[in-house]
Symmetry: none
Subunit: 428 residues, 2 copies
Amino acid sequence: MPREVREVTATIICIGDELLIGQTINTNASWIGERLSLHGIRPVEVRAVGDELDIMLRVLAEATTDVVLITGGLGPTKDDITTHALCRFFGGRLVRHPEVEARIEAMFQRLGRTLSDLDRSQAALPEGCTVIPNLKGTASGMWFERQWEGMSAPRVYVSMPGVPYEMMAMMEAEVLPRLCATFRPPTIVHRTLVTSGMAESRLAERIAPWEDGLSADGIRLAYLPSPGMVKLRLSAYAARDAAEVRQRVDLKARELQALIPDLIFGEGTDRLEEVVGDMLRKAGQTLGLAESCTGGRLSHLITSVPGSSAYYRGGVVCYANAVKVELLGVPADVLEREGAVSRPVVERMAAGAGKTLHTDWSVALSGVAGPDGGTPETPVGTVWMAVAGPNGVRSTRSIFPGDRDLVIQRSAVAALNLLRKRLLEARG
Amino acid sequence: MPREVREVTATIICIGDELLIGQTINTNASWIGERLSLHGIRPVEVRAVGDELDIMLRVLAEATTDVVLITGGLGPTKDDITTHALCRFFGGRLVRHPEVEARIEAMFQRLGRTLSDLDRSQAALPEGCTVIPNLKGTASGMWFERQWEGMSAPRVYVSMPGVPYEMMAMMEAEVLPRLCATFRPPTIVHRTLVTSGMAESRLAERIAPWEDGLSADGIRLAYLPSPGMVKLRLSAYAARDAAEVRQRVDLKARELQALIPDLIFGEGTDRLEEVVGDMLRKAGQTLGLAESCTGGRLSHLITSVPGSSAYYRGGVVCYANAVKVELLGVPADVLEREGAVSRPVVERMAAGAGKTLHTDWSVALSGVAGPDGGTPETPVGTVWMAVAGPNGVRSTRSIFPGDRDLVIQRSAVAALNLLRKRLLEARG
């Protein structure tokens, strides 16, 4: 980072015994770390501690960063003691907030539930804090500013619920904007291109010569892999002239796009199921599915997108062969002769789904997710995928590594990517 | 914990910038935490810090537990500085270990690679440490014992690689056995009962009087919630007589079982979809699904269980109303009159799925997952669920809180639980 930029640092403190004993993986910390980084605030430490007052007080006292973000321990039960610890640390008492109580009451009313005293106790918060509303749950966020002796600027402490979607909504809507307004962290220019269809190590080899030239331009490249996908993030600090830095990053993004156009399907937080959904919506076309080995995983992916009912009509999960025959019209003799995990069967499944569900496009999968059921010719991980559409039927076979869950997940993503490519071809 | 038991505590320190900026989720910490807990060593804190010397030295100095486990930062590249930090912290110099160098050389030979000076540098380790062999990679583990002034027993520091499978192999083969031999930690007796059908706060109220009596018996209760479920874990330290403590914990587990028999569906790592699958398998009965709002999520849950094809025949995801009519035989006029999210429709969906898929049992869901599509009478989160089986059709309506994904997940779990109850009734 250039010298003239004042760095803003953060500590992330996560509360809960479940984080220490392996019951819960700390995904909150990594999500917060990424969001802070992208806003120019540098996380220097993550601490996870249990629901114990003494340790919480010590950890709060040891934090020396500009920002201290705390998650968890705000529930209504006895083992949730974050609010109590904050009261002790900042030296105040609990004050009942009528507007918070009203919000909790309204939330319970909407759900048709009655409020208990325990639920009501969540409206009691330490005095001197700014209440941050929780739009998704009953535990309010709390914002404290303290300028301890000898400090040139105030330190900000924010306490948030540990439930991921409540915390995330609060971070995006309230905490990040407030932190940026308070500390004015340096701008970080970043662009993320999302790829599917090639593993991280092979992708790295393919773009190695181009990647070597990045550092001379002050640009960093990060590989962010997840099953079936790799995100490529370009980032650079912008001290003063953000526009110039943005131009440099944009140029590199265009170079990367030209280098691997076959692999890049979107930008930023684009999801493959959204990209495919947009293509279908714009084309005014519909989709149907026939899933065997993926057992509904692809349907779940597609319907995780709000508004997917505009193009997704439905699917058939055909675990039993009789369902393939009766609902999808796969001839029993073809099934018998070729086996369920075969090109002829998966292509007929796709065609049958299109006919049964009256859709323009249909995708079918049949494979061996494991751990049992593999043979020397068709080992565990073998998956046939077919896409049927206005431009005919096409199918492909892959062998995916990993356990049952990973095979299912990778198959679903690969089938979606196949559909994307067929949609692109059809658009021509 | 009873007074006579000396508790053994641990700090887990994870090194690496990737842990702070959200590039890598810290699965090492949760795995280590679980392994330690099950061996009677209590993790009191997890700290993740970047590859920075000053911060590492501070974090090492602040650890006051019996055991300090360090992962990561042992690679050969410049940004891996754990070895350097340990040298500084313990005050020694780097010593080249010929036997370690020979092992690295042999490993490279096996892979057909030549050793660089950088690779060879991994054989240089701080003097005064016991080398722990890495059977899966080139970075050796290091074991330090130090009895600082005023301490009654030595503190143990162990440095391990950050690559998960290398670390795990080293923990299992060397580190855990050595820690147990050094500290002789107390046995921990624990039992976990898994519940579904009641939220954490209401569950806590229901069992509060019973819970209050636990501490007198030296037993702790932890609530471990996840969407649609709450695990209740009873645990107690066993100083000498583990059998007696186990009896006490078993008694409490039986009491809890008697208190909430309607909510408890299993033990330990039991999953609802496995429990239901076992019931179906034992009854020699089959299952089919009709999913609207859950879009395949319940089917995915059921098929995540290996061997589910023994009882699960398949499902219909009926996003479009025409699919409800054509594949499930829901009368068009009922759909028109009652709306898709209604008791008459969901009961006909369930009956239709049983008929179309030729199954003994069938489950149907229809609801508003959101974020759009809600009305004053049928707000977002409203879900109708029906189970049809040998003992007739029954349906119920719930309103689930949370975003689209959570509503879908909670609905799927609730429907499974409904099926479990109907299966229990049918069994009599």
